[in-house]
């Protein structure tokens, strides 16, 4: 339980909530943490930031007792921690909300909360006391949730509430939140931040693992930056700029604004006329008209789930039987298979790369070959040419800076950013005439975002027509030549980038034309 008000003279002299001193951790040959130091004061929101693979998760797992450090010391509220483990962490008042929620979907909310700390009356479960406590906590922190609802019926933001309540019921005073906003819509993020502030104001300490700069600035009091397994800086959030944080994370200056020369668009490449789609009785696309020219990036803005997925899958042939017409270079695409569309020059960066773009258990080189595998040089007389596939992979790995540069490594083991580089490398190597880029920087760290943005602009400058689907307004605004806003399956507005501002787009995204 969070402590009651504890302001006053002793607050200044009180030991920090968390001190991690000189932490090192090796997994076999890989050094995950190297002399990392972290100090988190009581009652602050402390962001631990860094790129994927910077060692944030390892450090937090050590704090939570899931891993044991090779060197270094952990202190919780001034007390040195010995013989650490998750159970011990809970006893010390540390709770962790994992990035992938630890919930049992068919169980009710209350069953999920009591799991592991069940109380019984006679032989039977008796959740009533804990249920009262949960309701109380829910009122106090604005975390209301229906205790009897099955978790599998809840939206993600509600699942997150359940996770936080689980941690609070167990008496956590220090909450570790691992990438908590990754699954939330912008509105939900706002709501969530409100909860975090309330928690802090009522005495909790919060450690927020993230790589989203905007959120770090919005919510954290102090931050610690990690790079290559160690902590490189700690500062009050107000004292550092976004650019400085990014530079610390990446280790070199990062340009946010993409350099993009004005360029007159060429001939029209992709035209969609009056496209409609209904599935399971729901009208998902309704009278969509779009056209994209050579050398132009058309940004499709919108809150996730307004028909973007269906539109992209309709263009690429993953969904067949759309109403209306879709033409590429004047050729009607309806009825054409995915491969036929690819051969006509349609490239696709899928929004869910692990589902639609990569075979995660295939090697990097095989993933590069996918879709090119059936023709020379990858195949000769029906036989895969391993040496040609290898050569192609090595060329693309170099060109797209995939790390680690090991062609035989399963794609699953790459970071999100490097997986995306494989996808983009493959799609671009086919020299597409039109590229559908759906959420190209989703779950990708800032170094890779910069790289991907440059590549997209590079393609545009070479005359490719690009449809950029994104839920990040900043991305849409910095890359697009023209912007269309989709709302409930309709294109509500199309405008030139020069006329677009965040507020205009934001209103249209909410359905106000």
């Amino acid at each position: 339980m969070p402590q009651p008000e504890r302001q006053g003279p002793d607050a200044a002299t009180a030991p920090p909530a968390i001190e991690m001193i000189g932490i090192s951790k090796r997994f076999k040959t890989v050094v995950a943490n190297r002399q990392a130091n972290l100090t988190v004061n009581e009652r602050e929101i402390h962001a631990v930031v860094g790129e994927n693979g910077a060692g944030k998760s390892t450090l937090m797992n050590i704090l939570y007792g899931l891993y044991r450090q090779d060197e270094g010391e952990v202190r919780v509220f001034g007390q040195k921690v010995e013989d650490h483990g998750p159970t011990n962490a809970v006893r010390l008042g540390i709770g962790m909300v994992h990035q992938h929620f630890m919930l049992v979907p068919p169980f009710s909310v209350i069953e999920n909360i009591i799991l592991g700390i069940e109380e019984s009356a006679g032989p039977f479960l008796d959740p009533s006391r804990i249920a009262r406590q949960v309701v109380e906590l829910g009122d106090r922190y604005g975390l209301k949730v229906d205790l009897e609802a099955k978790v599998q019926t809840l939206p993600v933001s509600m699942e997150q509430r359940v996770e936080i309540l689980k941690v609070l019921v167990r008496g956590a005073r220090v909450l570790i939140l691992d990438e908590p906003t990754a699954v939330l819509t912008p509105q939900e993020v706002e709501e969530f931040f409100k909860v975090l502030r309330t928690l802090r104001d009522q005495g909790s300490t919060i450690i927020l693992i993230t790589h989203k700069l905007k959120e770090i600035k919005a919510i954290s009091d102090r931050l610690t930056v990690m790079r290559e397994g160690t902590t490189v800086a700690t500062a009050a959030t107000g004292d550092v700029s976004r650019e400085e944080i990014a530079q610390l994370m990446v280790g070199r200056p990062v340009r946010f604004a993409v350099e993009k020369k004005d360029r007159p668009p060429g001939e029209v490449r992709l035209v969609a006329k009056n496209v409609g789609y209904t599935s399971a009785g729901r009208r998902l696309l309704d009278g969509v008209d779009l056209s994209i020219c050579s050398g132009e990036i058309l940004g499709l803005a919108g809150v996730a789930g307004n028909g973007q997925t269906e539109l992209v899958q309709g263009f690429t042939g993953l969904i067949q039987g759309l109403e209306g017409s879709i033409e590429l270079d004047g050729r009607d695409l309806s009825g054409l298979s995915v491969r036929e569309r690819i051969e006509l020059g349609l490239g696709h960066i899928a929004e869910d790369r692990l589902k639609h773009a990569l075979v995660p258990d295939y090697s990097i080189e095989d993933n590069f070959a996918l879709g090119l595998h059936h023709r020379p040089p990858c195949t000769s007389l029906g036989r895969l040419m391993r040496s040609a596939i290898r050569a192609q992979a090595e060329r693309l790995i170099g060109e797209y800076d995939v790390r680690p540069p090991l062609p035989e490594l399963p794609a699953r083991q790459l970071s999100g950013g490097n997986q995306q580089k494989v996808v983009i490398g493959r799609e671009c190597s086919r020299e597409p005439r039109c590229l559908i880029a759906a959420l190209p920087t989703r779950g990708v760290d800032i170094g890779a975002i910069e790289f991907i943005h440059q590549r997209l602009v590079g393609l545009r400058d070479r005359g490719v027509a690009i449809l950029l689907v994104s839920t990040e307004l900043s991305e849409i605004l910095s890359l697009s030549d023209r912007i269309a806003v989709i709302y409930r399956g309709k294109i509500l507005k199309t405008l030139h980038a020069a006329e677009a501002t965040e507020s205009v787009l934001g209103l249209a995204m909410a359905g106000v034309a």
């Binding site: 998750p86 809970v90 049992v104 068919p106 799991l115 592991g116 069940e118």
Partner: protein
């Protein structure tokens, strides 16, 4: 007519009882996340051990106790392979079935002068109605155990999302071991029913009932009450075969009826049944 009805009903209960007991065994294994293809083998072991001890000592209750203890051990061994050693659960189950088939035949020949079957003397028999009543009592008992107790909550959690259970401080291996031990005991009891009902043990006398119990488990959506209903359907098919159909159609076809019903029902329902989410997946703590 009325008499025929009673006969059919009686045969239905006889046919359903081993399926209920074994199916309940399946519930505990599979709700904890371990596929139990080995129900058939557990049953055969149960049939053999209880028949062996009963025939040799003439004390049926002792036979049942010894058999139950031995089946708990078989459950432990199965857990050792599937939980601790993370062997493929289906393959392990198939291996258990083959082991049971071979070992019971071998031991039968060792203990009974190279015979492949042996009968129980009269004083060694246990009234089979005991099993019928036991099965009917166990269904609500298991339902309550699964739905209303700490043990049940944890067992189900381990089968649905072991990682969530683990981070909540619930030991995944412990509950999977417990699930399999209970599974072994219940399936063993299902097996014990057979020699006491028939008055003898014969090689491979389970004759696929373990698999039909597995079907009842799926058809019954991994719930005790569902298992009971499914077992009654199969039991009815069995009863119709023995009582009515054999007079109408050639017995070879009549004997196929329960199995055909199994196939038809599974084909019709399996798609709609949702198994425990982590069924068949050995649990590995995250490691890098």
């Amino acid at each position: 007519m009325n008499e025929t009805l009673w006969v059919v009903l009686a045969y239905t209960m006889v046919g359903a009882t081993p399926l209920v007991l074994a199916g309940l065994g399946g519930v505990f294994a599979e709700r904890s996340g371990v596929i139990n293809i080995g129900l058939e083998g557990f049953m055969l072991f149960g049939a053999f051990f209880s028949a062996l001890v009963a025939a040799k000592t003439g004390r049926p209750v002792l036979a049942l106790l010894v058999s139950t203890a031995l089946l708990a051990v078989v459950g432990l061994v199965f857990a050792l392979f599937t939980v601790t050693l993370k062997a493929n659960q289906v393959v392990s189950g198939v291996a258990l079935n083959m082991l049971a088939s071979g070992l019971t035949l071998f031991l039968s020949q060792v203990f009974f002068d190279r015979r492949r079957s042996f009968s129980l003397p009269d004083e060694a028999k246990l009234d089979f109605r005991f099993f019928v009543v036991l099965a009917l009592i166990l269904v609500p008992l298991c339902t309550v155990l699964l739905d209303k107790t700490r043990f049940g909550l944890r067992l189900r959690a381990v089968g649905e999302n072991p990682k969530a259970a683990d981070t909540a401080g619930v030991s995944v291996p412990t509950y999977r071991y417990l699930g399999l031990v209970i599974s072994g005991i219940l399936a063993g009891l299902a097996g014990s029913f057979l020699p006491f009902y028939c008055g003898s043990f014969a090689k491979n006398m389970t004759a696929g009932r373990g698999f039909i119990a597995l079907a009842a488990l799926i058809f019954g959506r991994w719930r005790p009450a569902g298992v009971l209903s499914a077992a009654l359907v199969f039991g009815l098919a069995d009863a119709l075969q023995t009582t009515l159909l054999s007079n109408l159609i050639p017995s070879q076809f009549a004997m196929m009826v329960p199995y055909v019903v199994t196939v038809v029902i599974l084909a019709g329902f399996i798609g709609r049944a949702v198994p425990p989410a982590s069924l068949g997946i050995p649990y590995e703590k995250e490691s890098r």
